[in-house]
């Protein structure tokens, strides 16, 4: 009894410590966003200060936050939708009709994530320029969906593998075409997996900065570009940067908070088997 009691407290303390360590930078950023530029850079850091909304006012005055937020939203949802549309059939065929090449294809897909994106920046930039996709929401949707596609396919593949093939065979015997097999049997059975894949993809696309900084300027720029724009031009303004960052991450943080149960369920799906 005593042992388990102690172990539980130990685990609780360890858990909170890790959680606080991870959360601390976000908390600090949040607090800094309410400081003046002077108190923001004070050493030792000012723990007691008069909070101000001035940074938010300045940030919102300088840039059209809602336009950036709208782009982020459209790009995250659009890329995720496109990646799922491409990923579901791909994962379906690899999970249920594997060939000798399947393993190789999966590993190759994953290996593209090991390549630093900057390695293909020039070719992608030139392609996008020639196709007229620079600074378009569609162009960003396209590149973001390509970059999350390997992860989407991998996750879907492992979720689909949990569905017994014999159930799909039964639907085939019942007269289902491959499309009906997908829509009536496989997708309903793997809804939790698909949902957590979509959630992760939305979060990854929302936070994606590299392509949005390099392929967009004004029209299609997302919140990551919005945040970055406060980082350089007139020197570092920590308080305003913090305010911009807080505004950028707030929507996805709230979204993540709401969907955390689903995420955890999906990501540990099959792990207990």
């Amino acid at each position: 009894m005593r042992n388990t009691w102690q172990a539980r407290w130990g685990l609780t303390i360890a858990g909170w410590t890790v959680a606080l360590l991870m959360f601390f930078p976000i908390l600090w950023m949040f607090v800094t966003s309410f400081k003046t530029e002077i108190t923001a850079v004070a050493t030792p850091p000012a723990l007691v200060f008069r909070p101000t909304l001035g940074n938010y006012a300045a940030v919102l005055e300088r840039a059209d936050y809602l336009a950036f937020a709208k782009n982020s939203l459209v790009v995250s949802l659009g890329s995720t939708l496109l990646a799922l549309l491409l990923g579901v059939p791909a994962a379906y065929s690899m999970a249920f009709f594997p060939t000798r090449a399947t393993r190789g294809i999966l590993l190759w897909m994953l290996s593209t994530k090991m390549l630093p994106a900057v390695g293909v920046l020039v070719p992608i930039y030139l392609l996008w320029r020639d196709l007229g996709l620079l600074d378009t929401v569609f162009g960003l949707v396209l590149i973001d969906s390509i970059s999350v596609l390997p992860i989407v396919v991998w996750m879907l593949f492992s979720f689909f593998r949990e569905v017994p093939a014999v159930i799909l065979e039964a639907s085939r015997m019942d007269g289902a075409t491959p499309t009906e097999e997908l829509t009536h049997v496989l997708l309903p059975l793997s809804t939790p997996g698909i949902a957590s894949t979509a959630l992760l993809s939305i979060i990854l696309c929302w936070n994606e900065a590299f392509w949005s900084l390099n392929l967009t300027t004004v029209k299609a720029a997302t919140l990551t570009a919005f945040t970055a724009s406060f980082a350089s031009p007139e020197g570092l303004f920590w308080a305003k940067l913090s305010a911009a960052s807080t505004l950028s991450i707030a929507p996805i943080l709230i979204f993540g908070w709401i969907s955390q149960r689903q995420m955890a369920r999906g990501l540990s799906f099959g792990a207990v088997k």
Binding site: P164, V166, I167, E169, A170, S171, R172, M173, D174, G175, A176, T177, E180, H184, V185, P188, L189
Partner: protein
Amino acid sequence: MATIELKNVRKRFGSHEVVHGIDLVITDREFMAFVGPSGSGKSTLLRMIAGLEEVSEGEVLIDGLPVQNVPPSKRGLAMVFQSYALYPHMTVAENMSFSLRLAGVPREERDQKVRSVARILEMEPLLDRKPRQLSGGQLQRVAIGRAMVRQPKAFLLDEPLSNLDAALQAQMRLELVRLHRELSTTMVYVTHDQLEAMTMADRIVVLNDGRVEQMGSPLELYKNPATLFVAGFIGTPKMNFLDVEVKSASAENLTLAFSNGASVSVLAPAQRLKAGERVKLGVRPEHVALEQDGELPGEIDVLEHLGPRAYLHARLADGTRLVAQAPGDTPVRGGDRVAFRIRPEAAHLFDGSGRALGRSGPGG
């Protein structure tokens, strides 16, 4: 209602051939069982008929039409799987009506068909449940019901009873036979359990290592096994096999010597055997009797009481095991030294390659 025909059907996985050229015809309304040990190719054969497995070579014909290029969904066959394979996200009624829904049958007609099948299978109270709320026996019924609802040309059943307990198995065997009679539809039944095949099928195909060993009615297989494999596979307890040597052979009779020197005279097979040849003598337990001066002395090892009868498992002098059937009240015990006599007219002879030597006289 369908005739299913296989013509030189082969199946290869990579370079490994698992089904080696099978020809057979399953006639309309027949209850045909494929029986064999695991790895004999029986399930693969069924899946090729279903279309779930590609045919590497040869032809599958349903009602005379080749179907190799017809997807499973268009073959009009229904399948019952060993693991039931119900749709876990649908209720029993939805599971059963799924094929009709895909076929575009209107809702009212669907409901009506589902209800009438549920009535036959006595599972009306289960219609709104999900599969996870059902017991094994109930799942099995739903799986059969799902196959029945669409009135298929033929039923394909892949070891449907093997996940049920023995009592339920016995009950479902009878129900399947009754169902087959009522529906009068072709049924192809795959099982590793010869008892299921023997009790239900009109005809049995015994498969071994991707080849047909023998095809025939249950009694034909029991009485006249064509090979040593069939002889050993059909019937419980197994047929006894004894090594014997031909002592003398005439046109009518054959005298065979056991390893202990005793001999027995049997009707000569159609094939001529010469003195000195070694063959295998097969005899079923019911044709071995306990007799004081029997030609085969041995020691009782284990006694299996089944009430009306008992099986005596004995070890002969040369170590060969022998099972004899005796009345239930036979007064013997483990360790008793006894002697057995075989009924020579019921003996089967097999040559060195395991083929039965055709008997010239009537079988026993």
